[in-house]
Amino acid sequence: ASKAQITVYAAASLTDVFPKIDSTEKYSFGGSNTLAAQIQQGAPADVFASANLTLPKQLNAKGLCSTPVVFTRNTLVIVLPKSNPAGIHSIYDLTKPGVKLDVAGAGVPVGSYTLQILKNMNLSSAVLKNVVSQETDVREVLAKVALGEADAGFVYSTDAKTVPGKVVTLKVPAWAQPKVQYGICVVSRSGEKTDAQAFVNKVLAKAGQAKMLAAGFLPRVKPAPPKKK
């Protein structure tokens, strides 16, 4: 079967895992929000895999993509440089003055999740004053921490795993974890709808899911009702 190579716009946090699922496609990884915006501007994407459900839903509402389905879930962790220059041992240490905290921009899914966590723990004001930069996607956060330029940053647990040895991770209490659901949909303007759908299926299929789990993602559960932001 002659299968066309399709273009997948996927959240930065999927950078490592998606090629493992299907290495033949073309990928554009970045902040889900940026990708969504690009699709609105007419980017030739076939599939959109976002680190939240909100963005695909918005596109769907605009008729720009099919109804999104959740294909995996994730959790956030705090990453620190191996040297841990700021001597951080718990999330509460993030309130220490002078800590260089790197987060993603509020528009980026991981950014909004970060804000939710801090809100849930009533740390918002105390911690946000230590933010030194708002990156454009989760991998930027990871990089700045891995480089040792930032003292700490909020990323997905899956991201932390991609740079073993470079960073140490701190758990975020489960009760504070936001509901991180990844939504995937087929872009309406796609010229390769069937192949696009095929890719989506591939991700949802056993093999795909296995790969996701191996990468540290959580099993997908039934689509949750849209949650208010």
Partner: protein
Amino acid sequence: MRRRALAVAWVAVALVSFAFLLLPIVAIFAHTSPGRLVDQLSNPVVRDAFRVSIKTSLIAQALILLFGTPTAYLLATRRFPGHALAVTLVELPLVLPPAVAGVGLLAAFGRVGLLGSTLDFFGVSLPFTQSAVTIAVAYVASPLYVRQAIAAFEATDPTLAAASRTLGAGPVRTFFRVVLPLARGGLIAGLALSFARGLGEFGATIMFAGSLQKVTQTLPLAIYAEFDQNFDATLAMGGVLVLVSVVLLVTLRLAVSWQRSPSTTSPSLFGLSTSS
């Protein structure tokens, strides 16, 4: 007549070029009504970004002027072993992709960079600070000024400086009374260029300084950040920057033409030379 045709074709090509260059700008303003544009100016993100941009740019340009001018003069007037190398070095950031410059700056002044520990020792940490933005801007913008400055200094008739010396003026007086006034036009032009370049700095800044509203988020960074939030704000900021740029360019034009002598008669390709 064959010649007419040629001339027409020639002009046509030029017109296409102009259209291409003009269109995006027209588009920006087509999308944002002046009203919207003004509204956006009250959008805190835009306002903060504007403030950060202006502040860092001004400091950066001051530094460029302070260090660039003597350097340029030296390169323009002295010939020493490795001169060509020095000039190349000065121009390097011009051809260096900003992202690379950013990486370089991190590798040099970052916490884990070459000078990181040294700076740490003095309790200085540059990344994520406004100083980082200034440094990034100064780094990528400086060549535009220095090149123009070198050219301007080279263009000033050396015998005039010599005359000043034989008239009893020392090096300093000669420089400020004769050389500088004569090079002025070129220097202003150069500064306008580097200011514009600095104002548009993106790659190096985001790498070296990150992007934090009120602190390190310059207009270009804000544009990128807002791009996916609200395109209007983006366009508005774009509009603002276009206006700023135009102003700068006009300054530049004036400065240059002011230095240049009135236009000479032109080589007559199509029939006759028009004497303006």
